[in-house]
Every structure is written in C-alpha cells, then in structure tokens.
Symmetry: C2
C-alpha cells in the first residue's frame, strides 16, 4: 500500500457518492492521471474499490461496502448524470435476498452481489 493508493482510499472515504477520475484529480491535485487509473485497477482487484459504470462519460469509483459497512444503492439522474448514494432499506433487502435464492436455484447462476439503481431526475433537474 503506497502513499498514492492511501490517498485514493482517503478521497473515496470522504465522498458521499461515487467519484469520477476527473473529480478525484480535482480533489487531490498533483496525482498523475495514469497512476490513478492504474492504482484504481489494483484496488479494484484487491476488492477495496468498486467501479461503477453509468451512461455518463466517466466511470465512477467508490469504496467496497465490506470496508465501509454501509450498504447503499444509487440514484442516477438521467438528465445531468449525477449519482447519489441512498441507504438500502431492510425490507427491500429481505425481499431481494428471497428473490435471489429463487433465481440462483432455478437458473444455475451464482449471485455474489447486487446493484439497484433508481433512474430519474435529481432535485435540481426536475
């Protein structure tokens, strides 16, 4: 774990939403773009960071929930591309897990994690 990687984890921990690489570079000036890309790949393979791809032009990155203990989903604005975190509801998670067991049993798929996105208009775009 080098200083550069610690800096990335730092920036992501302070964020309340997944960040793009330009956003990361803006927050922590002085980092080389290529190193950020490379280190995010390393952190992703280490399971520390998750890459989130929306229809937006940039990929986004956030800390893995294993580390933060904060299970959440995403609000994605179809107008401006903004992405916000939203805490997961216990009831919804329960229903989801029931549905997942059924799906895994009938399809032969092995679910490791899930992703729920609500797509619509954010407060400022609506």
């Amino acid at each position: 774990m080098t200083g550069n990687r610690a800096a990335l984890v730092d920036v992501l921990r302070d964020a309340t939403r997944p960040l793009t690489i330009p956003e990361i570079l803006h927050i922590r000036g002085g980092l080389a773009q290529s190193s950020v890309y490379r280190n995010l790949v390393v952190l992703e393979q280490a399971g520390v960071v998750h890459r989130i791809v929306t229809n937006d032009e940039h990929a986004r990155f956030e800390l893995a929930e294993d580390l933060t203990g904060n299970h959440h989903h995403h609000l994605v604005c179809s107008e401006c591309g903004a992405v916000e975190d939203v805490p997961a509801s216990a009831g919804l998670e329960a229903s989801l897990h029931a549905a997942v067991s059924e799906i895994d049993r009938t399809t032969g798929f092995t679910t490791e994690r899930h992703r729920i996105d609500l797509v619509g208009r954010c407060r400022t775009c609506s």
Copy 2:
C-alpha cells in the same frame, strides 16, 4: 421509421438478452457500423430502446419494456461479461415500489425507472 431501424428493432425483439453492436452486426450482416450507432441513438431518444452499460467493453441494447411488456432484470457474469435476462418477481417489485416512494419523498429525487442487476458467476463460469 426506415428499413434500417426496423431491422434493429427486429433483431432486438428476437433476442433474449441485451445485445452489443458487434452481436447485432453479426446477426444482421450488411449494416454499416456507424448507421447502427446512429440509429440506436435515435431509437433510444424515442424511448424505443434502452442502452445498458456494464463493465464489459461494449454497451448493450434492448427494447424498452413499454413495448415488450416484459419487465425483467439482469444477471451479469463478472467473469465473462455475459448478460442474461431474468423475469422480475412480483414480491420484489412490490417491496421496491414501497422503498422508492419513501426515497422520492425524503430526497426530492423523482424516480422514473429502476435497474436491478445480480452480479456473479454464470452457469458456465462457476
């Protein structure tokens, strides 16, 4: 609606999963890549087609559910990138709608649609 666009809708209707552009070109030879890209943009803005972006190298396209009447979610293989459709469960949808109303009320977000992806290993990769 030109012949080229009808051909795209045709191909997507016959598919049981969202297709990438190389897949579309393979199924319907003779189409120009640029026209396919352009027409998919047109169809997407017309609300006929949805673009799905995973961590895979290509975007994927499917018919909007308004047209097919077939509400479903996706199984995404983290190993090979394959994407399969899976029908939505009624119980899960009910819980989701309850959670969505609550979220819209408390955050000011306006949810228009949702996306549920189960990420894991497909039958052949597990």
